[in-house]
């Protein structure tokens, strides 16, 4: 037995491996790091960097669709500056983004606090809460189109049934109500994203902190104000930043519900840029309108990073 097993041990003993020079080189920290970073970097360059640079190049040209462009410098931006609709679009985009983001922030936080409690069917309800975010935007927006439809609106039917208003409001026909309707639909769609992310943040807060605060005599509001909110600030910052970016550049919702009408009351940068570039065949001008989103968006993010970022001290 012993004699038979002895050679086995000898065979199982680790053999010194000769690593190739290439392998050793790739395993160096500096090289390995770059090897990991390069694929996503190339991916970003191809799918984000190239279109972005191409967009800038287009915006500096008089570039009709299907024709060669001529370099015009900042002429497209000057034309935008003088275009009254551009300024209306700018105002619309800010109103839409600020109102929808605030509503999502407050509503999402409230929803997350409720979902953080113990109650029956908690997991099922948490899963259902995500539905508006999961359903494809175009589909859910078509459902909203029926809800807000003047003839078939369930809201207006209820208003008529309870004799509150007859006929009901023109949700998409009145310029102010149309913007309000879009904000409501955007909030409905974006709320779960806020709620689920904030819920994840809430669950990282140690119960010991609440216990300590309670022993110190803190009320429910105090615990929220001095424990929950400060510890949740990093998550709120990230989720708000994402939300602002998505809302500022929103397209689908407006395109399905109003296409920017009535009389440009709901046109946002993205929808206006699309109409000018695709409908009007003015790719250069369309690109300049789309790029105009960049400075205000950068400013908003910068301001947010100052006011909302948690103190490192």
């Amino acid at each position: 037995m012993m004699s038979a097993s002895a050679p086995t041990f000898a065979a199982a003993a680790p053999r010194p491996r000769r690593r190739s020079a290439f392998r050793q080189w790739t395993e160096r920290e500096g090289v390995f790091g770059w090897l990991m970073v390069i694929p996503p970097l190339l991916f970003l360059l191809a799918l984000v960097g190239y279109p972005f640079i191409y967009g800038i190049w287009l915006s500096l040209q008089d570039r009709p669709v299907a024709r060669a462009g001529t370099f015009v410098g900042l002429a497209n931006f000057v034309a935008d500056w003088k275009d009254p609709v551009f300024w209306q679009v700018t105002q619309n985009t800010f109103v839409y983004t600020i109102a929808a983001t605030l509503l999502k922030m407050v509503g999402g936080l409230g929803l997350a606090l409720v979902m953080n409690q113990e109650f029956k069917f908690k997991n099922t309800i948490r899963a259902l809460m995500l539905l508006p975010f999961i359903v494809p935007t175009v589909l859910s927006t078509i459902a909203w189109m029926w809800i807000l439809d003047p003839a078939f609106s369930i809201i207006n039917w209820l208003l008529r049934y309870f004799e509150i208003a007859n006929p009901g409001p023109s949700w998409l026909g009145n310029p102010h109500l149309a913007m309000l309707s879009l904000i409501i639909v955007n909030t409905w769609r974006g709320l779960p994203f806020y709620a689920i992310t904030l819920l994840a943040g809430l669950q990282t807060i140690s119960p010991d902190l609440y216990e300590a605060a309670t022993i110190d005599g803190a009320s429910a509001w105090d615990r929220f104000r001095y424990v929950t909110l400060p510890l949740l600030r990093p998550v709120i910052f990230i989720v708000t930043m994402f939300s602002v970016i998505f809302t500022f550049a929103d397209f689908q919702l407006v395109y399905v519900l109003t296409r920017g009408g009535p009389a440009n009351a709901t046109h946002l940068y993205a929808t206006y840029a699309f109409d000018v570039a695709m409908g009007g065949g003015q790719l250069g001008m369309g690109a300049s309108i789309a790029l105009a989103m960049l400075p205000p968006l950068a400013l908003i993010i910068f301001a947010m990073s100052i006011y909302m970022k948690p103190n490192k001290t």
Binding site: V65, K82, D83, R259, P262
Partner: protein, 431 residues
């Protein structure tokens, strides 16, 4: 030095040999058999049998006759321009496409000159309607083969009009205002799109402006003339028309809204294509029985106008075999083929060839005849100026539509015209 010369010469020989070999192969392939297939990209029709007829009858018939498979690729309603833009910009994709409005002009450089076959088809088909030339001839060359016009006319409830004393559809805008006022009081308001759709808004607002004598630009395509007494009268009329005959909702309507409202008996009159009657016959026979169609009313100038909404077929320059595509177009537009295609759509696409002016397709449903008769008074947005890039921009920015919509929402006539004037001057600055 001698070595370098010798080396270069060897490389040259290899390069030339390789190029000749590959070029020869390609040339042989091109000069040889016809392509195995061609692709036609088309916007989905509101009349479903129309697409089915191409796929199930025309394409197999052409394959049987020539061995060339025709792929019929449909795009969703409203997205055809984006797809055509992609194909033209990338030089890839379908060989042929259905185009609309002024796209022959927009995509001019990426479309094959089809003057030869347009003339041949026109000659065989009794000549082209003038309106088709307005849409397809760019700098003296035909850039697409005209197919048919999707007219935008008045769709109305004959029974309700009759109840308020209008046995026939009013011949003037004033008459229509009178009828609409009575009908709204009777609980049957009108519903004309004033929002940002892509067809039904332009369908009545440009003709309204023109019939009052208003224009955006002079025929020179440069001089902006929207700020006129005629435009002011048209805007004033539109506001009154809106207030006395419609509900506020129409300000936010898109193209599906008026179809839904009409077929659910919410409105008594709208401006739309033949699709309302077509769908009513299929799904709402009682409404179909009392639905009438009429040309747009005359304005104070004594003239009536309609929007030209032409569908044509064009060949992309990136198509490898232009001749094969042209041969298919000639075959397609032969009365034996195209006649059946028109018929299955029940005149939804009013043929641009004069030989169909009195074809049986018009007599299958006499209520559709106004769509044929409207061809002679139909123009593209921007008329009487020729088609141009600034004109496309004006349509894309809804300058005329919003001028009327803002007035209906309460802004003064002076202000809305000033807004439109400023926008048009900005748009036409380079014309």
């Amino acid at each position: 030095m001698a070595n370098i010369v010798r080396a270069a010469s060897r490389r040259d020989v290899l390069t030339i040999s390789a190029a000749t070999f590959v070029g020869g192969l390609m040339g042989a392939a091109r000069a040889g058999a016809a392509p195995k297939s061609l692709t036609m990209m088309h916007e989905s029709s509101f009349i479903p049998p129309y697409d089915a007829y191409f796929k199930n009858k025309l394409a197999p018939a052409y394959e049987k006759a020539t061995g060339i498979k025709i792929n019929y690729e449909t795009t969703s309603v409203g997205s055809q321009q984006t797809r055509v833009t992609t194909a033209a910009e990338t030089g890839n994709g379908p060989d042929m496409a259905q185009i609309a409005f002024n796209w022959a002009f927009l995509f001019d450089e990426k479309l094959v000159d089809v003057t030869d076959i347009a003339q041949e088809i026109g000659k065989k088909g009794g000549g082209w309607h003038q309106a088709s030339a307005e849409a397809c001839i760019v700098n003296g060359k035909w850039k697409a083969i005209p197919f048919g016009n999707i007219g935008q006319l008045m769709n109305y409830r004959m029974d309700w009009f009759s109840e308020v004393g209008f046995k026939d559809f009013p011949d003037t805008w004033d008459g229509l205002l009178e009828a609409g006022t009575k009908l709204k009081k009777a609980g049957h308001p009108f519903g004309f799109e004033l929002g940002h759709g892509f067809g039904d808004n332009h369908g009545w607002l440009y003709p309204l402006l023109w019939s009052f004598g208003g224009r955006e630009v002079e025929p020179d395509g440069k001089t902006v003339v929207i700020d006129s007494a005629e435009t002011a009268r048209a805007v004033d009329f539109c506001r009154t028309f809106f207030q006395q005959t419609m509900q506020e909702d129409t300000l936010g309507w898109t193209d599906v809204s008026n179809n839904k409202a009409y077929l659910s008996e919410q409105i008594s009159c709208t401006n739309n294509a033949e699709s309302i009657l077509f769908i009513a016959k299929r799904d709402f026979p009682d409404i179909a029985k009392v639905t009438g169609q009429a040309q747009n009313p005359k304005g104070p100038t004594g003239e009536r106008f309609h929007i030209l909404n032409p569908w044509s077929h064009a060949i992309f320059t990136h198509t490898p075999d232009h001749k094969a595509a042209k041969d298919f177009m000639v075959w397609l537009m032969d009365p034996k083929q195209v006649g059946g295609w028109y018929e299955v759509a029940v005149s939804y696409y009013a043929p641009f060839l004069h030989m169909f002016d009195d074809a049986p397709l018009w007599h299958a449903e006499p209520r559709n005849l106004p769509y044929r008769d409207s061809l002679s008074t139909s123009h593209l947005p921007g008329w009487p100026a020729p088609i141009s890039r600034p004109q496309s921009e004006s349509v894309a920015k809804y300058v005329v539509v919003d001028m009327f919509a803002k007035a209906c929402a309460g802004k003064s006539t002076k202000d809305v015209i000033a807004d439109a004037n400023a926008q048009l001057k900005q748009i036409f600055r380079t014309a």
